[in-house]
Amino acid sequence: MPTVEIDPDELRYLTGREDRDDEQLKRDLFGLGLEFEGETDDGEFELEFAPDRLDRLSVEGVARSLRYHYGDDRGVYLPGTNSAEWTVRVEDVPEDRPYVTGAVVRGLDMDDAALESLIQVQEKLHATMGRQRAKGAIGVHDLTMLKGETLREDDDRQKSVTYTGADADEETMVPLEGDQELTLREVLDVHHIGQEYAELVADYASMPAIYDEIGLFSFPPVVNGRRTEVTADSRDLFIEMTGTDQWTVDKMLNIVCYALDARGGKVEEVRVEYTEDAPVTPEAGSELLRPDLVTKMKTVEHGDVETMLGVELDERDVVDLIERSGMDAESTETDDGAAAYRVKVPPYRTDVLHPVDLIDDVGRAYGFNELEPRYPDVSTVGGRHERSRLEDAVRDRLVGQGFEDLLNFHLIDETQNYERLNLAPPDAGSDDRADGANRVQGGDVLGGGEAVTIEQPYSEEFTMVRSWALPSIMMVLENNTHRGYPQDLAEVGFAAHVDESANTNVAERRTVAAALCHAGASYEDVKAALRALVDAFDKHLETPATEHPTFVSGRTASVVVDGEAVGVVGEVHPAVIVEHDIELPVAAFEFDLDALR
């Protein structure tokens, strides 16, 4: 889960609660759902946060939530905005990244702590809502370093920048943390930030770029130019965000504007003008004023609040709890006359999709841990799944017969599953098994089914789902040769192979496998064990001779239960035993659990 780093002194300063000590703060934060994970080297709290309240990704946002929590603030707060002087003109931008939004913030009370917080909120927004900058990317610039193009002769205060597509090999910039002029291609190839995000623009027809009169100053979503870098001395900021969805970048912008407002900044609107050259989107040809600091309304029924929390509440209490959650509420009635509330939700909230989200806020403000647990007065009949009962019954029998029960991974690799058991891996998708005269029944032998494989495994040891369980048992024997014998091991478990007749194209099997490993372990012993097991389920066992590459020829039989061939039993071939560095004979069986139903 993501974490956010919060300086407790900043928190005390921004909440105005200088007297809360660290322990009190930790409890307060736990109540908000922010769990204390540890401290950084500079004494900041590392807090684990759930990615719903993205407005709490900054110390300013957490402080705002705490002020509501303490009851120091109530209701919706909307930052005032000044009217727009700057315009972002959207021209021929790459179709994959058509959306942009922006804001200007002036008169900031910036210092190192505020700058650090601004950098963190950008990073965390990129990591969450921005989907690692793919869906939304933020650029923050020192406004004084920008020279806008004059838009109108009669008003030199109206200036613009242009978001457009740029040629990667022609256009140049000096990127942040760089000291030389590079083409955009070079930024992607050699600059460390460029390399990190190059993949995002790899398929773009042209590079997203934002220009002022001087030139290119932002290369979203990759890197900003060095010219407009923000420092602790910056007072006025220009913020732009580009992305694949207007709503997403607008919401990210709202969260940043709220954080900067808490630092004494004055938000000023920016005009976003989608020109006729912009890609065809719902916004093409229109003009937007951003940030979009508007509230939205949701209706919550009083009865739903009471049902979900399991307590009776006064209407006044509910309104109070809603206000203490940073929202406004007024009583109303639904069309069918039920008591309800019209709730006004502030623009930094990205998580409110449905009225249940507001009931959750009411519960948090009430304090969920204040609620008395009660066991629901609902009567139901419990019971085990039929197959799970069978699995257990078989396991109990095997244990009674002296086997040690195993629980192995379902994931394995091809070598372990096939080759080390002397099986040829089946050719994916090929039905031609007639090639080798010695290939017994081709891939039709137990364990020889086509592999269900993992697309991008992290580890070479876990690349497929095992097609049978015996390889796992052999691995356990291999890993325990230093332990006492006998090692008579069994597993009732899961195996799978590709089967095009199934809806998921996978045949999932429950399998019963057992191996005897001790001096003198023989076919007779393992057949005796198999017989005892099959007898216990009142089934008829036959063992006609067969061939299986894992087992010694002439000491291998098909497991036939009530007339149906369901598995194999035999002495494991010495080549397989030696391959697993085992120095004692192994006799084994494996068959389908369903045969014992």
């Binding site: 999709l353 519960g363 697309e455 194209n505």
Partner: protein, 503 residues
Amino acid sequence: MKLPQAQVAVLEAASADEQRTIDRIAEEAELKPETATRAAFELDGEGLLELTERTTSDVELTDEARRYVEDGLPELRLYEAAVEAGADEESVQMGQVIGASELEGDVVDIALSNYARKGYGEMDSGEIAADPGADPDADAEATALDALAEGAGAYARETALEDLDNRGLIEQTETVIRSVTLTADGVTALMEGVEAAETVGQITSEMLTSGEWDEVEFADYNVEADAERVVPGRKHALREMAERVKDVLVGMGFQEMQGPHVDADFWINDCLFMPQDHPARNHWDRFALDEPGSIDELPADLVERVEAAHREGVGPDGEGYHSPWNLDFAKALALRGHTTSLTARHLSGEAMGDLEPPRRFFSIEKAYRNDTLDATHLLEFFQIEGWVMAEDLSVRDLMGTFTEFYEQFGITDVEFKPHYNPYTEPSFELFGRHPETGELIEIGNSGLFRPEMLEPLGVDCDVMAWGLALERLFMLATGAEDIRDVHGTLVDLEFLREEEVAR
């Protein structure tokens, strides 16, 4: 003093001044040697006799060796014939030499291989040469063989014996010779007089059926002696834990679910109102399959409702996600990242038809995560999943159910931390006090399913659910520190053998 019959006889046959072998004792006492031996050991244990052991080795010639003692070693006969034929000066035809040596059959091969091995000369291209410097009279094997034949084998050189052994010319055997002398206590006991008592060791079938058991005295055993260690069959420790949890849940009225491990992302994620661009669904975290790639069929009307919920939300005030949604992704197969896919299949009616409330369901089944293996994280783990479907469920019902559940495992004072899951609201992380350390630890995740999940699935009452990893409960309950010792092919059998049984 009363002693068993055999011990009395052995004691009386032994001497305080002279070591006497067991064989001699047995003869004098008229006992079988093994009976005398056991009695001697018992008397030694009682301090009445002192028993000493020494090992002697005997060497016996095989039939083949006896023939060579008579005729001489074949290689020496070959050398003599070769020298006779002048092979010490110039190589001679091999056939000629062999003929002259009168060697026949297998013995020819034996002669040739030992001839070269012992440096009597070389053979090349059918010709044989003899080393003029070789001295057949000093042949160590021949000397040893002669010495053994005369019964003076003790003087034979160790290496020669080994060579003879390798050639199958001798058989070496080791014999333990046990002797006894009376100790001072033994002498005292004899002087004070010992009487024979009728005692028996093993109770036999014959003894029981004949009634003899009533007339004998049972020998005392050393009941404090260590017993042999046996390895009993036993259920896997984690499996035992799972059984216990299942018992608790069945007792609380929960019914067990099972279902596919490999499933479409639709059932794993889309039905749970997880946006398709959710970080947990990116190609790294998802356990996507390469082969096979996608499911054949999904219920078309359900797909339509789920997609609509993702795009537009549900209810008059609902909103959807601002995320892409496409059917190909929904149909793509993966190993389930959580067993909530089973819950989705059951709630939708796909698993066992439409469900009428109230119902309680659970599963303890494997879920998979595409990650690296370490001491506390596995690629596959058992997820305990439980849910309750009923009219008008509240957060208090959820709290009551989970408080009850965790109490069964000694975890009390469960705390509910408000949390976020895409498919539940409200959502809680569950924390409890560790039964031994008192530490506050996370013990599960829970919530009430969102309307955006339930409505498309066709459920029009409330459903509350929770989940946790069985391994986590196991590690808490047992103190196991490395989960890899327990679950998987790296399992240490010793750990499983020694783990306390669950109860």
